[in-house]
């Protein structure tokens, strides 16, 4: 339990720092901007109470927002992300697995599940994020392009991270 707490704290600090100091400056012509900090929210233990999950997601979003000078945009997207995560886990995992403190990390879960989990929730997060950022339906196809390209970018980075810390079957 304490270990889970410690790991998540470290993960939070590292991911947010990477996001605001490194990934903020990365991008492909304003079309694709990665937001891999959402990995923190994705990797919170499966059995976490919903309210705690929302609070942590909101906190993460607000922290990133503070650095991006876009108060609320990332927080809203993270709230959406938390909801998407809850829905996805409820649909795909058996109920007994809900209760434990397993971290849904590659190695403890099958790759296919992990890939689907990451890409769907990322898509959800990015849709909300970019819609809120542009806040208009003008140039809609441009927004859509940004969402998809950024989504691919983020998913690739998240998968790279996961492979970097891959440990075989620690169950």
């Amino acid at each position: 339990m304490a270990k889970v707490f410690l790991y998540n704290t470290i993960r939070f600090c590292v991911l947010v720092a990477l996001q605001v100091f490194l990934f903020k400056n990365m991008g492909y012509y304003n079309l694709a901007t990665p937001f891999p900090y959402i990995l923190f929210v994705l990797l919170l233990p499966v059995g976490i109470p919903n309210f705690v999950l929302y609070c942590l997601a909101f906190l993460t979003g607000i922290t990133v927002d503070a650095f991006y000078d876009t108060l609320g945009v990332n927080a809203a997207a993270c709230a959406a992300l938390a909801w998407g995560r809850i829905l996805f886990i409820r649909i795909t995992l058996q109920s007994d697995q809900h209760e434990n403190y397993m971290t849904p990390l590659l190695g403890t879960v099958p790759f296919r599940w992990y890939f689907l989990y990451v890409s769907l929730t990322t898509l959800f997060h990015h849709s909300v994020l970019f819609m809120l950022e542009t806040f208009t339906f003008h140039h809609f196809h441009y927004t859509i392009t940004r969402i998809f390209l950024s989504c691919i970018f983020t998913v690739v980075i998240i998968l790279l991270f996961s492979l970097l810390f891959y440990r075989k079957k620690q169950r």
């Binding site: 919903n50 609320g72 945009v73 809203a76 959406a80």
Partner: protein, 277 residues
């Protein structure tokens, strides 16, 4: 009650989502100027065109009034034209100003939406970026000042009315020429404003006229109103003067947007002196 609780508990993920997401969106709209401008704003194309359509009907009802106003203004202008055209011995020797005299251009605009009852009032006009209107321009009417352009879209512009808690306009008194900033102040009367920062030693007479000073966006000498009460807040080194505004905000129909041709030059010069000092 129990059932309600059960439902809330069963779908708690969704309700938490609504709460957190709602709060975040509230933060977005509150704190990011772009989203605030485009979320609740009548220069937004949809609302603007709706107002324009309604206004097209309403304008028929006011034709008589508008006509009288225009006729009055015409008369006034004709009078001034006479003065200019009159053969005068002084005029003979006049030197043409190298600046070309014309510093301000006026864009005529119709008011499509107006409010006077809020704490912060806004006005929507039917002229926009297409007609050369830019953010920060002054708006006047035939007998007073109206406000400052706040947002501009392609065909519409919103104006931060003088009846807004944050509008400040530089205005001067007729007799002494002392200038201060005119604001709506803490009242809720659309006809009253407050002239602040006039030093205590200046003699102010009731009924004295107040004009724009020419230091802000407005040309010099546009009537603002009359002094009706002086020295409201005593014991300070500045007088607070209550001014009856000459602009009739409640039946504003046609206004002029002041386009200052030399605004860039002026701002550049002023920012230069700021940098030096």
């Amino acid at each position: 009650m129990k059932n309600l609780w059960l439902i809330l508990n069963k779908y708690n993920a969704f309700f938490f989502f609504v709460i957190f997401f709602g709060y975040a969106v509230y933060l977005v709209v509150q704190n990011n100027s772009f989203q605030r401008a485009s979320a609740v704003n009548s220069s937004n194309e949809f609302i603007g065109s709706a107002y324009a359509r309604i206004n097209a009907w309403q304008s028929y009802l006011n034709l008589r009034e508008v006509n009288t106003q225009l006729a009055e203004e015409n008369a006034g202008l004709r009078e001034r034209l006479q003065l200019l055209a009159a053969p005068d011995s002084i005029v003979g020797g006049a030197v043409t100003d190298s600046m070309g005299n014309i510093r301000y251009r006026y864009v005529v605009a119709k008011v499509t939406n107006n409010s006077i009852h809020q704490k912060n009032n806004y006005i929507t006009l039917d002229k926009g970026r297409k007609h050369g209107v830019k953010k920060g321009m002054g708006v006047i009417t035939s007998n007073g000042i109206v406000g400052i352009v706040l947002n501009v879209s392609e065909h519409f512009a919103t104006v931060q009315s003088l009846l807004h808690s944050e509008t400040r306009v530089s205005a001067a008194l007729e007799d002494s020429g002392a200038f201060g900033s005119l604001m709506w102040g803490d009242n809720y009367d659309a006809q009253l404003g407050i002239l602040k920062d006039i030093p205590n030693h200046v003699k102010v007479r009731e009924g004295e006229r107040v004009f724009t000073s020419g230091f802000s966006l407005f040309p010099q000498g546009i009537p603002v109103g009359n002094v009706i009460q002086t020295g409201i807040a005593g014991g300070d080194s500045f007088l607070d003067i209550r001014v009856k505004l000459s602009t009739q905000f409640h039946n504003l129909k046609q206004v002029y947007i002041v386009v200052d041709i030399l605004t860039d030059e002026k701002e550049m010069l002023e920012s230069q002196s700021e940098n030096d000092g």
